[in-house]
Every structure is written in structure tokens, then in C-alpha cells.
């Protein structure tokens, strides 16, 4: 269902006029056709903003925030719109502030190991740029070709290499942000461990609800001396899951430890030709980095762990092309599902690593009890699952069943001591699950955070916190309404 908050019009209203005065006519979109592209992110939810502004500077953003306050309109910050939780969807209408034109790499300081970036810089562009100097920026979401660093910080995004290097928050030194009153504040600093409470850390992962990130300073690290990428083939998901624990038990922390199950291999391999065996029950994609001798000895330990867990084959990439192919299969998996099925719904649960075998068995059993095919490609080393339910949206009543099945799967994650999102964020999508994890007191403390920054309805209203905590409308109902209304118009329900 697409929500229109005010009928789009072709004649600018006072709000639009004032915005144009600040940023110029080319940077303000308000006609119906122009707004369509800003209705959604990579999820199911859609809603039309009243206006979209594309600022170029922090000062412009500060003025935009003040104008929106004056006209009492909510503000939704937006990067590339690749989010998987409805975070950038303007569910209450208002003004979308798109950061994509603020895309300059302002400074790279190799000696002091940091990079200063505007929020619209694309993740992969930074990595590519650093590579020439022998450095890298570690967090690498699978969407790194398209997602912005502002979006990464706002969602505290992870990626395959989070296992050894941590999530985005562990790499952010300083943020410049515009707060709900339009003030510009700097959080953290270019050096480590600035005295005082870690507001920088709190802001990371706040999903655009506390303010707009206008500049980011991240830490950069040297590229490893040596790297080994391995593919271990298993008959079942359970034995692959056991191998994950067995590797960790041997004291080895690979930089990446990813799993793909049979269902996803069957989708990916014919399209990408990554080299995954079609008859495998599951594969583990394992990467080890460090100094050459240590990489050799650690990969022996990994081999041993995989073999004792029943691996039928272990392959090592012998060239960078082979490595890239193996990774392409993993990183392009979501796109491949989109090509193979009319619709799918991707989840983001996280569980203690030792619970993986049991949880995976339950997930597959739940999906099959609903009659859904369920593909899994996920960050096994972190216990971060992405069960993906494939379905035909034309089927009567299917969307309710998808949500019901997803809810049951999330329950399994929570009951195993896990959480409802490992990297995609709560957004709109998971607000109703928040009460499964947190008590009313916990949620009230989160509300306190929001209020300390400013009124809860200024930035990205109705995100993160559930019904009654700053958002008047219950959410589970909204999702199913949105899906039901939307089923013909979108073929990918991520």
C-alpha cells in the first residue's frame, strides 16, 4: 500500500518554497513523478514523502531541519535506500533528506589512519580508493556496491568480515551530526578514546532517529600480508553448523565464516557459476588473513575442524579470480533469488553461535510446515541468520502466512538467547518484536534516549520503538496492510 500524505502537486507550497530558498530549485523534488523513487527502501513498505531535499552541505541540512520544525514536518534521512528494515521509508510523510549528493571523500590520512567522508560516499568506493595505498576500511556489507557510509553508520551495518573486524561502530572515530533543533554537533574525535560518554557509539545504529549524520571519520587499517579463501562442502546444514563451532574451539577466528545452504546454492550456482557443488547440503566460505605462516597453520586447523565435522571436500582458492568468484556467489545471492522467484522475504535473526545447529533445524522445519521454500546464506561465524522465504505473491492470503512464518522463526531466535536483528536494523519492520526482547522499562530507557535528543517525531518517527513508544500506530498491522496493498507492484519482498 502506498501512503500519500498530501496529494502531490505541481505548484510549490510555502514549505517547498522555503526549502528551495535554502538549497536551490534543483535540489528539491516535490512532483508526484519525482517522489516515487523515494517511497521505499529494499523492503516491502512504501509511503510517499511530501518533499525530497538533496542538500550539499551541513549548513544546508541545519537550515532544512529548522524549516521542517517550523512547518512541523517529520524528517527522514536517506542514503541509497538499500536498507532491509524500512528505515528510510517516510511512513508519516514529511521531508526526505537524501544524502546521496554529499558524496565526497574529504580526506584520506594514511599516516594517521583515518578517512573523512561525506555521508553519501558509497562503501565500495572508499575501499577501492584505499586499496591503492595498501589500506582498507573493514566493514563490507554485501550491498557495498550501492549503500552509503551514512546508511552504514545509521544502521551499524555488518558484513562478512564483521567476525574478526567488528561492525561499523567499531570503525567510526568521529561523527558530525545535525540534531533535531538544527544544531551541529561533533561526537567522538579523530583520535581514539576521547574522554566522556560514548555518544558516538550510541548514535551509530540509531537508524536516523536521533539526527542526520553529515560527516564521518573512520579508522582505516593495513591490508593483510596474506589471505586464504576456502570452500568446505557438507552434506547437511547441521554438520556445517557444527564445523563453525569446531573452528572456533580450535582458537581460530577466521575473518569471514559464511554459510550457504542447498536451496540457495541451487539458485546461485546456475546464475553466478561461483563453483559451489550443486549436490552439497551446505557450504562454508571461510577466509583467513594474517602473516603467511600463520595463515597456513590456521588453515590447517580449519581443515581439520571441517573434516572432523564431516566435510566431504575442502577447496582453496588458488587465484584472486577464484576468490572473487567464490565471494560473488555469496554477495550476489540476494539478487539471484530476486531473479529466480517472484517474491521473497528476508529475515535477520541472530543467535549464540553454539545454538546454530538446533536453530537451523527449527528454522527449516518451520518454513516447511508452512510450505515455503527457505534459502539460507548467512554470517554463520557471528550466528547471524538470514532465512529467506520464497513465495508467489499472487496466492491468496500468502502475505499473512509469510509474516506468521517469519514471526515463528524470529521467536526461535529470541528463545535461543538471540535477538531480532543482527545488522539490518529494527526500522519499521521489527518494531513489534521489540517487546519480545525488552521490558517496558528497557523500552522506556530507549525512549529517554530519543527524548534527550529532541522530540521523538522530528526524525524518522515510528522507527525502532514499538507502538506506544513515540508512535501511535501499531506496526504489525501496518506491514500486512502494506504488503497486501503492494503485492502487485513489487516483485521483491526483502
Amino acid at each position: 500500500m502506498v501512503r500519500f500524505f498530501k496529494p502531490s502537486r505541481n505548484k510549490p507550497e510555502p514549505l517547498v518554497q522555503e526549502l528551495i530558498e535554502i538549497v536551490g530549485a534543483n535540489q528539491v523534488l516535490y512532483t508526484k513523478e519525482d517522489l516515487i523513487g523515494y517511497e521505499y527502501d529494499a523492503t516491502i513498505e512504501r509511503a510517499t514523502p511530501e518533499v525530497v531535499v538533496l542538500p550539499l552541505t551541513t549548513d544546508e541540512i541545519s537550515s532544512i531541519v529548522k524549516i521542517c520544525r517550523k512547518f512541523n514536518r517529520p524528517i527522514v534521512p536517506r542514503g541509497s535506500g538499500s536498507g532491509l528494515s524500512g528505515g528510510a521509508v517516510p511512513i508519516k510523510g514529511g521531508v526526505v533528506v537524501s544524502l546521496t549528493r554529499m558524496n565526497k571523500i574529504c580526506e584520506i590520512d594514511i599516516e594517521n589512519r583515518y578517512a573523512v567522508l561525506q555521508p553519501g560516499v558509497i562503501n565500495l568506493q572508499l575501499q577501492d580508493r584505499l586499496q591503492t595505498d595498501g589500506f582498507t576500511y573493514a566493514p563490507d556489507p554485501s550491498s557495498q556496491r550501492i549503500c552509503t557510509l551514512g546508511g552504514n553508520v545509521a544502521n551499524n551495518s555488518g558484513g562478512p568480515h564483521t567476525l574478526a573486524h567488528g561492525s561499523t561502530v567499531n570503525h567510526v572515530l568521529e561523527l558530525e551530526v545535525v540534531l533535531p533543533n538544527g544544531d551541529i554537533a561533533r561526537l567522538g574525535s579523530r583520535v581514539l578514546d576521547t574522554p566522556g560518554p560514548d555518544i558516538r557509539g550510541l548514535f551509530a545504529g540509531s537508524e536516523g532517529t536521533l539526527g542526520i549524520i553529515t560527516e564521518i571519520t573512520v579508522q582505516i587499517i593495513p591490508l593483510p600480508q596474506s589471505l586464504k579463501t576456502m570452500l568446505a562442502v557438507f552434506d547437511t546444514v547441521t554438520s556445517a553448523s557444527e564445523a563453525v563451532s569446531s573452528i572456533i574451539r580450535r582458537g581460530v577466528i577466521p575473518v569471514a565464516l559464511e554459510m550457504l545452504d542447498q536451496e540457495i546454492i541451487k539458485i546461485v550456482e546456475p546464475r553466478i557459476h561461483a563453483g559451489y557443488p550443486l549436490d552439497a547440503g551446505a557450504v562454508l566460505l571461510i577466509e583467513i588473513e594474517g602473516i603467511p605462516d600463520a595463515v597456513e597453520s590456521d588453515s590447517e586447523l580449519v581443515r581439520e575442524a571441517c573434516e572432523t565435522s564431516g566435510a566431504s571436500e575442502i577447496r582453496v582458492a588458488t587465484s584472486s579470480e577464484e576468490r572473487e568468484k567464490l565471494w560473488e556467489g555469496r554477495k550476489a545471492a540476494i539478487g539471484a533469488i530476486g531473479a529466480a522467484y517472484p517474491a521473497f522475504y528476508l529475515l535477520d535473526g541472530v543467535v549464540p553461535r553454539t545454538k546454530l545447529p538446533q536453530v537451523m533445524e527449527n528454522v527449516l522445519a518451520i518454513a516447511s510446515s508452512y510450505g515455503f521454500k527457505c534459502a539460507n546464506m548467512f554470517h554463520a561465524g557471528d550466528g547471524n541468520l538470514h532465512p529467506t522465504l520464497m513465495f508467489d505473491p499472487q496466492n491468496e492470503g500468502i502475505l499473512d502466512r509469510v509474516l506468521e512464518c517469519a514471526g515463528e522463526i524470529m521467536r526461535v531466535c529470541v528463545d535461543s538467547g538471540g535477538a531480532i536483528t543482527g545488522e539490518h536494523g529494527v526500522g519499521l519492520e521489527k518494531t513489534s518484536y521489540m517487546e519480545w526482547i525488552y521490558s517496558q522499562d528497557d523500552l522506556e530507557a530507549m525512549e529517554n534516549i530519543r527524548e534527550a535528543f529532541g522530540p521523538a517525531d522530528v526524525f524518522n518517527p515510528c522507527k525502532i520503538l514499538p507502538n506506544g513508544h513515540g508512535c501511535a500506530v501499531g506496526h504489525a498491522a501496518e506491514i500486512s496492510m502494506a504488503m497486501a496493498g503492494n503485492k502487485m507492484s513489487s516483485d521483491i519482498y526483502i
Binding site: T194, P197, A294, G383, A419, N448
Partner: protein
Amino acid sequence: MQNSETKILSQVFEEFSPIVDGRLIDDQKPLFTVAPRNVREVSEIVKVAHSQGLGLAIAGSRTAMRLGKVMKLPFAVLDTANLNSIVEYVPEDLTITVEAGMTLATLQFTLAEHGQYLPINPPPSDEISVGGMLVTGIAGTWRGQLPSTRDLILGATTVKGNGTVVRSGGRVVKNVTGYDLHRLHAGSLGSFGVVAETTFKVLPLPTSSVILKIKPKSIKTGIDLGKLLLDKGFPVRSVVLTSPSVGALLLSDEDFLLLVDVGGSEVAVAQTVAAIRDLSEFAVDSIETTIGQQLRSIFKGDNRIVIRVGVPRQRITEIMSYMMEINIAGFANIAAGQILGECFSGDLNSLDELAGELGTLREIVERYHGYLLIENAPTDLRSKIDPSGRAELSVVGELRRKFDPGQIINPGRMGGRE
């Protein structure tokens, strides 16, 4: 507060067995001390204190009590010594949940039995409580190459200043479910409530480690070599340059010393040591690994004046030289861009002079986006110069009002409670 009032107050706390043990905080006498045994008791104590408007100084192992602004009387002490159990530890998950009064030493001992550790070595020793470690944000020489408490924390149970128990995060290594309240407590000096339980991400303990000693000719050659080693991506846990006076204390060697802590598997350590020998134009010796602990505790002592300066790596040589000129001896953690130094103050009069000198040093490092933090100092000095020197963001004040409406937790530590 009158004696009679104190008596009544201490009666209010009777079920928590308040004691008066004579231990001072910031040279001040607390009314009494209570030591809760679990989160529920923490909550009850804080509720009562909140209703009485009584300040509560939170004390862990008391190894890091002389930082921040001087605490404001009157206050009682909430001692976390009895909050010392392991709540949950599943070694294969690489996570552990412990109560906040547990010392880092006990935590490390438990982890070591399973070949794991929390990769942090705050000065002066592992006696610090884990809650204290989180709220002070004190790290050690491994910082930079390894994460700090604010990175390793996965979740916490805290008690707000009105007694409400709040949980955030969880026991999984990756989690973006809601705001990371636990991060708010990192470096907060306890100003948002009492930390009662913490969950950390842990790492496998290196099976082998060695400390290498290199004698560069000057600060500059030492720092440059240190940076070179760091940029090669070796498994080094720290690269530290000590000033001659520290070298003399530590190894009876009154020279600049570059100490490199290498840790990893045996092959990793062997290959790294060989590579460093090849790279260094100076002799490279292996020395006792206990030197690491000795370096950590080199400035231990209540009455010492210890500062930490954070600067971009490029500025370490300049700032360390300057610090030596003004008689601050210390050592630089090159990976983190941090210099820990001890200031020698003579008598009380010279404290004014020292405060002036530190003020100037602070101005210089701030020009480079750096900071100067007083990590340990007597109350006199902490009254003369702001220990952190950071202007508080207005949002921090707002957060404090939300999380500790009566401003009773560690009253005055971060300012406020005028």
C-alpha cells in the same frame, strides 16, 4: 548533614547492612557504605537514595577513583564488591556475562581456563572491576591494535538513578536491536546510573607471546620504526616507546626503548619476530613478558599525577618531546596515539604551576584534534583544572537528567548537581 540525619538515613538503609569503614573518596568521608549482593538490591538501594536525595558514590575495586571531577558531598558509597559472580559463560560462543564488581583478574582467570581472554590491559592492574573499566574507559597498551571496552561490550544491565533496572544489548556478538544503551555508559564515569552486569565479547588467548626490546636512538627513530611495524600488519598487540626515565625504572636502561608485544600462534610469533629483526636497523632482544605488567603498573599509586594524552600518530614525537621538556615522563602507545605520563609536582604551590602547564599542553593537543585527560590525581589538582577538558554537549546534560533525574549517582563527577 547533621549527625542525627545521617543516623536516620543509615537506618533507612538498615536492611542492606550499612557500614562505616573509614575509607575516603576524594579525601571526603562518605556517610556509610552499602554493598548489594545482586541487581535487585542495587535497584532497591538506588530507589531509597533517590527518594532521600542522597548521593551515591559507586565504588568498584577503587583502583580508578581519582579521575573525573571531585565528588560532591554528602554521599554514601555503593560498593560493587559483592557483585562478583559469573552470570553466564559459554566459551564456544566467545561471550561472557559477569556482574560488574568482578575484577578483571578474576574474569581473566576464568577465561584463561578455557584458553580465552578479554583483550584489554588497563593500568595499573587487573584489579580494576569490570564495571569500573567500562565507565572510566581506561584502556592499556594493547589499545589501538586490539579493541577497548566500548568495542567489546555486547550488553549490560544497569540501574537508572531512580532505581529502574534497564537491560540493553544481549549475549550475541552482533546485535542492532534498539539503541546501544550500554555504550552510553562507556566513559560516562557512572553518570547515567549503576552498571550491574556486563556482557563482553572475548577472544582466544594467544598460545604464544613475546616482548621485544629495541633501542632506537631518539624519539623520532623509535616512533618511525614503531609505525613501520604497525603498518606491516604483523600480529603485534602493542608497540610502545618509553622515555629514558621509564626505561631506567623498568629495565635499568636509561634510554628510549621500543617495546613490541607480539602475540598469536607459535608460528605467527616466530615469523613476526624474524621479520622484525630483519626490518630493524637496531638490535632486537626478547625480554621477559612480565615487563608488560610492570609497565602497566609503573605509575601506580594514589598520590601520583598521571595524565593521558591522545593525539594523531603523526604528532606523537612532537608531543612526547614537549612533555619531556616540561618534566612529564612516560610512554607512548603508538598504535592508539596515546601517551601516558606522570607529572612530578613538588608542593601544593607548584600545583598551580602544573595546572597551568597542563592547560598549555591541552591547548596544543586540542589543536591537533587531541585531548588531555587526568587519569589519576589528588583532589587539589582536579579542582584546579578540569580533568577531561571537554565541553559537555547539551544532549549529554539532557541524557543525565533522564537517566539520573536526582543527579545522585557519582554526584559531581561529570559536573552538574550545582
